[in-house]
């Protein structure tokens, strides 16, 4: 997973080096289109197109049957039952491409989330850094020291605020004074770990969390190398503000990504000869 994430992150960084030159709505549209086309190709080769064609014919025939024989109650109800059955059959035939697409598309969407869901903090804009530890670690494990690079200030400096209640965590307030992709270093005795922190460059992708062994966190926060299962750290998170746009901002981008990719795929399906 770590290797795959590294490759994907590098790939997306390269792609966004080009796409980032244009407006964000354009990059989202282009990516949605590409994903739509890939989805079409997957459906074309991973589904039983002949069977889907038959189901579609069945659906259209029963829809027309509703219109043509609307006064025959028995025929209408039968057509409706057949439509439900055809809908279920359609879902069944879409399971193979869905299984094939599911993981890759989650990984792709996770990469897009790093670029559309959150934005870097602005210069002088305060935020938090949270180190979440395993609940069973001794109190001595909370003695982490944060070393900030030039351009980043932490409060308190050195050791952070220790939380030792229902979860064990250490928290700092961070303020970026210079724009850039900074590397924060945390030390506890001989153990040293890093976390990236992005300030002020709007087009940059961020990494809200360096994940621990949780599979879900590894999938959703793929930019940084995750901690192993033997690590006492569960995650290190920076609270980035959500991006503000009704199209390519937080949460909206997922909606439009979904809509655009489907619409583009539907428009292009005759070109690829795909039955959907």
């Amino acid at each position: 997973m770590g290797v795959l994430n590294s490759i994907l992150t590098a790939l997306f960084d390269t792609v966004y080096a080009v796409l980032g030159l244009g407006p964000r709505w354009l990059s989202l549209t282009i990516l949605s289109g590409v994903v739509g086309v890939i989805a079409l190709i997957v459906v074309r080769f991973c589904s039983n197109q002949a069977a889907i064609g038959r189901v579609k014919d069945d659906i259209k025939a029963n829809m027309l049957s509703l219109k043509l024989f609307k006064d025959e109650l028995r025929v209408v109800l039968k057509a409706q039952a057949r439509l439900v059955w055809a809908g279920l059959r359609m879902q069944y035939y879409m399971v193979p491409p869905l299984l094939v697409m599911f993981i890759p598309f989650v990984l792709v969407a996770a990469q897009m989330g790093l670029r559309y869901q959150w934005r870097p903090v602005e210069t002088n804009e305060p935020t938090d850094l949270t180190v979440l530890l395993r609940p069973d670690v001794p109190d001595s494990a909370l003695n982490w020291v944060l070393e900030t690079p030039d351009g980043v200030e932490a409060s308190p400096s050195g050791r952070g605020v220790r939380i030792n209640a229902d979860r064990k965590a250490v928290v700092w307030n961070l303020t970026g004074r210079k724009p850039g992709r900074h590397v924060l270093t945390l030390q506890n005795g001989t153990e040293s770990v890093t976390k990236e922190f992005v300030v002020g460059r709007d087009q940059d992708r961020v990494s809200p969390m360096r994940p621990g062994p949780s599979l879900l966190d590894r999938i959703l926060y793929p930019a940084e190398r995750p901690f192993g299962s033997d690590s006492i750290i569960q995650s290190i998170a920076v609270t980035y503000p959500p991006r503000d746009s009704w199209f390519h901002g937080a949460d909206w981008w997922v909606f439009w990504f979904l809509v655009l990719s489907i619409v583009i795929a539907l428009l292009l399906k005759p070109v690829f000869g795909v039955k959907l």
Partner: protein, 705 residues
């Protein structure tokens, strides 16, 4: 065996694990990643979920609004079925099914279902029309009137100004948006039923193109053209030199073989573009496998391999005429041979029922519905390619394949109609009986000139076998209709008889001084172009009759209307009646009917002035029908088309079976419309010429009898 079982078990376990893992993953990631699964889920869920949702909403809506709709219909005064004696009437039309053959085959035990129906219900010969041909007879069936009221007297009529032949039932004019006009007059009885709130499902009844609006659904039949606008033009692709053959009703395309590949084009419709006319074409290729006598045909995205003499299924062909000008058609391929010359038959490219270039059904979506629910089907008016068979492009088995395939398509439509219409009218006409009579009668007639020469004798029993197939189909239909409230009538519009000798009526008219040719007449010229109209008093055109060259009616008429015309009519009737064939000594013409005396109604003057009633074995010659004048009055018919019914109607009655008793000694085809109206309790319009037949409607009473 154990190892194998163990291996299978391991495989199954692995598969189960994968499925389980995938399932767990889906469930585990569902919540946070639900927005991240993108188009995959979108495709899977959205379309099918929408279908399910629509169906459910529609079901709820239907159930809740049903009482209201029922009340609205009642308030509107459509007291459908209020006086009806039955809930459903089903007509199964069997075009051209011959009464004589049916009776013989019933006696021989070949038609058990019809024989049983005769026993428990009713059977009689059915009086047909003058002339006894499909368009006229079915027009009388659906209007309940004589041809003088529905204006259909033949397949063809003539342009009065130019004398050129034209279709009698439909007028198609070109242009960017073609205009199609139905020339048949009178109101089909299902339109009248519709006005009384009774639903009808009408499938392939001749002379219903273009489709008319009414309360019901209808798929048109006879006169529906192919995509080229013709009544069916087949194509024959061959590597033979071009001048070796010329074909009637089709065209030969010479192709060149490049290695194992042949590239050519399917010819489509003509469209107007940039002020001129352009013929659209669709490319296709054939990859030949000589060793296995196979070929792979590729048209557009479709590719399929055919063995020798094998037919393809219906293939969709798209002719690209530019933006918003795509014309879609369907056709079938038959690989005839790969060596020594490549030969391939392509059926006429028919209108795609799913994307019709113009409506072939009412409502237009009905043909789409049929195509979606049952697959592609032949839409051409005369779907079975008799021309290709006559020209020996299709052999006997190939033609029979077309007939049986058309029957299968039609049976599916009929069964669907029976399923959809629980009360109302269902009419479905099967054409194959007529086509099989036409093309295989030579095997029944030992004197027929074309008995030999069309393939082998293996299909000598084609007609009895086909009648038996139809009987089996009728058995299935009757079982499906076995309800006390359903009346089933099985009928044919006419019969058939041998066509051994053709009569060139125009040559007879020339020999007897009624017609003259131009001094520079060219042999083989069609459409009467050789006729000197200034010296011609009468001419034959089409299959049925003779026209007078009447002044002020015909373009170059010379016969004065009134007394001169009446005298000429009588004179021709007298001379042609009893005309003998000098070669055989047989009477070729039994009777000649004066149309003005025979027909009643506003269109009787549109009929040929004289209708010729040929004797058994005779018919108007092929040449005379298209206005090509030959040197002799009588000639042998050497075509596979070896039977006909354009003869005296008394010789070719149709059949009428019913699952109820009927009190009628001489039922006629034009009695069907008033009888049906009466069964549904609808008043019979006064202009109908048919009579109401007395049909026993109570099956219990009938059984007791």
């Amino acid at each position: 065996m154990q190892v194998k079982a163990s291996h299978n078990s391991n495989c199954r376990r692995s598969t189960e694990r994968i499925v389980l893992l995938a399932g767990c993953l889906l469930v585990a990631l569902a919540e946070p990643a639900q927005a991240y699964i993108g188009p995959g889920a979108g495709f899977a869920v959205l379309s099918s979920a929408l279908v399910i949702l629509t169906a459910m909403l529609s079901a709820i809506l239907t159930l809740f609004t049903w009482p209201a709709r029922w009340v609205i219909r009642a308030i509107r005064g459509r007291r459908a079925f209020a006086r009806a004696k039955v809930r459903r009437v089903v007509f199964v039309g069997l075009d051209g099914m011959d009464a004589g053959l049916v009776e013989r085959y019933m006696e021989e035990g070949r038609l058990p279902n019809l024989a049983a129906l005769r026993k428990r219900g009713y059977y009689s010969r059915l009086g047909t029309t003058l002339p006894a041909i499909t368009p006229t007879a079915w027009s009388s069936f659906l209007t309940g009137t004589n041809p003088g009221k529905h204006n259909i007297f033949d397949f063809l009529t003539r342009d009065k100004r130019s004398y050129l032949p034209m279709l009698s039932s439909v007028q198609i004019s070109g242009g960017r948006k073609p205009s199609i006009r139905l020339l048949r007059r009178g109101k089909p009885f299902w339109n009248i039923l519709g006005e009384h709130g009774i639903f009808s499902n009408i499938i392939r009844v001749p002379i219903t193109f273009p489709p008319e609006r009414f309360r019901g659904v209808l798929l048109s039949a006879m006169c529906v053209p192919d995509v080229r606008g013709s009544q069916g033009t087949f194509s024959f692709y061959t590597t033979r030199p071009r001048d070796e053959a010329i074909y009637e009703g089709g065209e030969q395309v010479q192709v060149t073989r490049e290695g194992n590949r042949i590239r050519s084009e399917l010819v489509g419709p003509e469209i107007e573009r940039n002020g001129g006319k352009v013929t659209l074409r669709a490319p296709f290729s054939v990859d030949i496998d000589d060793g296995n006598e196979r070929a792979t045909v590729t048209v557009g995205d479709t590719s399929l391999t055919l063995g020798r003499r094998q037919f393809s299924p219906w293939i969709t062909v798209t002719f690209d005429g530019g933006v918003r000008r795509k014309v879609r058609g369907i056709c079938q391929f038959q690989l005839i041979q790969t060596q020594p010359h490549f030969e391939m038959y392509v059926s006429p490219i028919q209108i795609d029922p799913e994307n019709p270039a113009f409506p072939i059904s009412h409502p237009t979506v009905f043909s789409m519905y049929l195509s979606k629910s049952q697959g592609k089907f032949a839409t051409l008016g005369l779907a079975e390619d008799t021309w290709a068979h006559n020209e020996c492009i299709l052999e006997d088995p190939g033609f029979l394949h077309q007939c049986t395939e058309a029957d299968e398509e039609r049976e599916r439509m009929l069964m669907d109609a029976l399923d959809k219409v629980s009360q109302g009218l269902v009419v479905c006409v099967f054409d194959s009986t007529d086509r099989v009579n036409h093309q295989y009668w030579r095997y029944l007639d030992p004197r027929h000139p074309a008995r030999h020469g069309f393939g082998d004798e293996k299909l000598a029993t084609a007609i009895p076998d086909h009648y038996a197939r139809i009987d089996a189909m009728l058995g299935r239909v009757l079982r499906r209709c076995d309800r006390p409230d359903t009346v089933v009538m099985i009928l044919s519009d006419h019969g058939a008889t041998s066509f051994r000798r053709g009569v060139d009526v125009n040559r007879w008219l020339i020999n007897n001084g009624y017609m003259a040719l131009k001094p520079d007449a060219k042999p083989g010229a069609r459409y009467l172009v050789n006729v000197d109209w200034s010296r011609t008093r009468a001419y034959a055109s089409g299959l049925a009759g003779i026209y007078l060259n009447l002044k002020d009616r015909e373009g170059q008429g010379i016969v004065e209307p009134g007394e001169e015309a009446d005298r000429l009519r009588d004179e021709l009737c007298e001379k042609l009646r009893g005309l003998k064939d000098p070669q055989t000594g047989e009477t070729a013409i039994l009777e000649v009917y004066n149309s003005l005396k025979y027909y009643r109604g506003p269109f009787k003057e549109e009929a040929p002035d004289l209708m010729v009633g040929y004797n058994e074995g005779y018919r108007v010659s092929w040449e005379a029908a298209i206005g090509d004048i030959t040197d002799q009055v009588f000639a042998d018919n050497h075509k596979a088309w070896s039977a006909d019914h354009c003869v005296d109607p008394r010789l070719v009655p149709g059949i009428l079976f019913c699952n109820r008793k009927i009190e009628a000694e001489h039922p006629r085809i034009l009695d069907m419309a008033p009888t049906t109206l009466d069964l549904f309790g609808v008043d019979v319009p006064k202009n109908m010429d048919g009579h109401v037949l007395s049909v026993a409607v109570n099956r219990k009473t009938e059984s007791a009898d």
